[in-house]
Amino acid sequence: MQEKIEKILEEARERIHEAKELKELDEVRVAILGKKGKITEIFKAMSSLSKEEKKQIGPAANKARNEIEKRISQRLAELKERAKEIQFEKETIDVTEPGKKFSLGVKHPITQTIEEISQIFMSMGYSIAEGPQVETVFNAFDALNSPKNHPSRDLTDTFYINENICLRPHTSSVQIRTLQSQKPPIKVISPGRCFRCDTPDATHSPMFHQVEGLIVDEGITMADLKGTLDTMAKRLFGAATKTKFRPHHFPFTEPSAEMDVSCFKCGGKGCNVCKGSGWLEILGCGMVHPKVLEVGGIDTEKYTGFAFGMGVERIAMLKYGVDDIRLFYENDMRFIDQFK
């Protein structure tokens, strides 16, 4: 009996060691430990043995079974590990193959520029105001203190629907609507489309976008105007940007100014972008003319304000180095895709 056990053990060790596959190992397990397995047979046969023999054989059989079980589970772990290795080997991919394509769309560069400018002003407490693109001549000119004979009113400058209705030549008309509908403090910007009778060429477009801003409150000064627009310029064009305010004239502001920013390409040394001057003209601005405030019934002794307006296309062209304004409206996907 003892010998038999030794023999079974011997055989089991060898077969377990030799097993190359899970299936093979399982066969070994069934052959030795299964219901009709060799060790099981030993246990079955023990009933016919004497007490003495039982005492002797029992522990030996148990020991053999334990050893075999342990060996099988060891071998099982080894084989599983091996199987994984084989699988990994088989499943190895060429990681340099291209990834699956996820192409997100991109917002139009003009939208992006408007959103960027809007974001800057919103962080300074300005809300977005909107108004119609087809406007009354009153809101587009008269209420903005534009003289009756101002050249910008000519048929060669502004598109008209009839004598009293035009396509707004600036978003300043939204100022008027805001002044008429809100009480100070007023703090708005109005981005939007504008139209002027310009034949399209590299730098002119009969349709363009402006962002107009208006603040009316007690104690607003021209120094505040400078501070606000200087902050805007630094955020939009970089912290090193310098600003320069030059006197100018607009009917709806007094005093009026144009703001230049130091050329962000050359930093002010002079280059082809700034045409050697080191400065780029960016926007017009000024203190809101009392006559404009009066249109909104605002007490001009108590309140003052400033307004500004900038051309979005010009800013986008400068920022992105676009050299032809018409590209914005051709909508060639190869152009738009570049603004990701």
């Binding site: 087809v134 607003i220 004239h249």
Partner: protein
Amino acid sequence: MLVPVEWLKDYVSVDVDTREFVDRMIMSGSNVETVEHFGTGMDKVVVGYVVKKEKHPDADRLSVCSVDIGEEAPIQIVCGALNVEAGQKVPVALHNSRIPGPLHGQPKQEGGVKITKGKLRGVESMGMICAASELGFDEKVVPVAHKDGIWVLPEDAPVGAPIEQAMGLVSDVVDFEITPNRPDCLSMVGMAREAAATFGSQLSYPDSAAKAAGDRKAADFISVEIKDQEACKRYSARVVTDVKIGPSPWWMQKRLMYAGMRPINNIVDITNFVMLEYGQPLHAFDIRQIEGGKIVVERAADGEKFTTLDGTERELTSDMLLIKDAVKGVAIAGVMGGLNSEIEPDTSTILIESANFDADSIRLTSKALKLRTEASARYEKGIDPNLCEEAANRVCRLIELLGAGTVQPGAVDVYPAPVQPWTVDVRTARINKLLGIDLSAAEMKSIFESLEMKVAGDEKTMKVTPPTVRLDMVGEVDFAEEVARMYGYDKLPVTLPKGSNTSSLGEAESLRRLVRSTLCAMGANEIQTYSFVSPRDADKVRLDDGTWETNYVRLINPLGEEQSVMRTILMPEMLETLGRNSARGVESVRAYEIGTTFSADLFDEEALPDEEDAISIGMYGADNDFFTLKGMVTELLGQLGIRRIRFIPEKEYGVFHPGRCARIVIPTKDEERRVLERPEPAKDGASHDELQEDYDVIKGLLGAMNSLSHNGSVELGIMGEVHPDVAEAYGIDGRCCACELFFDVIARMAQTKVKYKPLPKYPSTSRDIALLVDEAVQVGDIESVIRQSGGGILEDVTLFDIYRGRQIEEGKKSVAFTLVYRAEDKTLTDEDVAAVHEKMLQVLKDRFHAALREM
């Protein structure tokens, strides 16, 4: 306004170089367009004397000249100009010289033109005799005498001297941008006033103290009557006898040329010169032609014919002001003199007109006649009538200084309502508060005085009287600007406004941003297209006249027919974009636009048009078919909280393939619908007559056509595969899909507030079914019926397969769905599900004659 710096220095001393002059003038408010440096870019160009001129042996149009250039021997030059003659002094560009150019008849070249010796038709030429336009002068200012040929220099020009020195050509000319509020700056004196204030120097006026040595009086020659005192504020006339017409001196010609005017003769040049000095236009008449010794200022007769100085006969209207004598017109007031009274070489007595005409009248006349002159350009911006006398005196003085005639004493000056100086209260504290600075009254006073304003009053409130030429100085803020610009914008402090810092994007813009980010996330690029389009676009997309899509807002002055109406829909421009990309070889496009559309108010031409935003989506190329688009639309609307949409087949809409087009609608209860109809614009309390009610009904209907569909559904838009004819018209190669959504309607329905729903507590169970139905049965209808028969436990229905082909009868299709059942309050048993499911299958069978297939 072209300002030769050297001329300006006659009136103001400025001791800085041109660069600094320009910089400081810009910062004090006179913006500069360009600076031209005359007399530069020239090298080895000298004064020559034409000793001899012979015909070229082989070319009729060429002359061979022997030219003395101050060297030992004259040089030979071949010249093509017709006006070259022996005995002339001329500019000669020597061998290896440089001139600014451009060469006659050629475009201007950066850096000028190099001249070398060479042979012309076999004859050696050692250089070139130059035209004035080749030495930097604009063609249009070159004196008439040699405008088509070489420049004939004055007889006293020193032979051999460099031309720029001999003729004093070196001068910087600054082109100032004059804003419409500063017509006073359209003059040398006006610019000198600005420069004096900017540089703190004194302004000295031109010498206008005419001796008037004549022995008669102006009134002996002429009388003046102003019949239209609205349009003519002042008419001042002086008379000069013994006039000797000839060229004006070179210094005067040169200044006129720098300032952009062509020298004509001494009298005309003097009037132009003084116009440039003061900004006051002047005109000289030959008094021989003034019949009846009388000037009458009155409106022309309608249809009256009049020939101006330029030889053009013009038809006048009664809106135009005419200067007449006793019988006929002699000048169109403020615009151009008449050919019948112009200065002739033998003119001996002249009338100098120095008048003030109404700006609007001149502007309208000049516009109607399409005739714009230096005079009209000044009048139409407004001129101080007080200038007339001074300017006329200056003309007389110059005539005396140039010895061009004898000035008769006195003027005939009709000035019914002289403009008096006005005074404005200016509060020191107010100015400081507006600008954010703290200047004393004394500091402000000195700024005002530097601009020739008189200041009285006290420290608190100054009483400031501007010179009457400063038509723009009306309100207190105008004076604030003077303080700001003379103090220096750059010196103003930099602060930020105090006060509220809350901001809002607004509902519409928030939704637009959500739409943009959603569509971008689905791989579509945003486009922006023109708001004005061609009225023929409707044809191109196969839409009929008379539909709301052709209810155009029309421009009265479009750039062209192609851009003459405002768009009513975005579709045509989207297709245009697809076509353009297709033509340029872009393989696949997915694009969208959010933009404003416009429709005319048919009942009230004076009302602003309706403006509504729309969304268009367009696509072509791989993986961009109807169902891609439908999926995008569904997801977009889902993002906006609109989930109960239906797609209804539409066969009649011209833009799309009749079998591949759907209206996108959302069923609404009647009550909801009323709220969702376009809100009527608020009406000011105008009278409500009987018509008003009809008007409202029709207007409402028209509005509704855009946003409402039938059967209690609101239409959100339309989508489809673009009709092949339309695609072809736009040059789109292959199939493409597009949709147009009514953004404003969608925005009114959008529900972007998210509300949490508890996660299910009990498990779900699913059943797959396949139905064999006729091809014509719509999947959407089957799905609707399934949903309706869900018995309260159907959680979801998903179509997973449509099969046609083998084992399926011709004309039929097999449609397979997965149905998910779940109860909120318990775990469903097989029996629970079967009860509902079996009933549902029966309904489907009855309704669609659907045969169930085994799954």
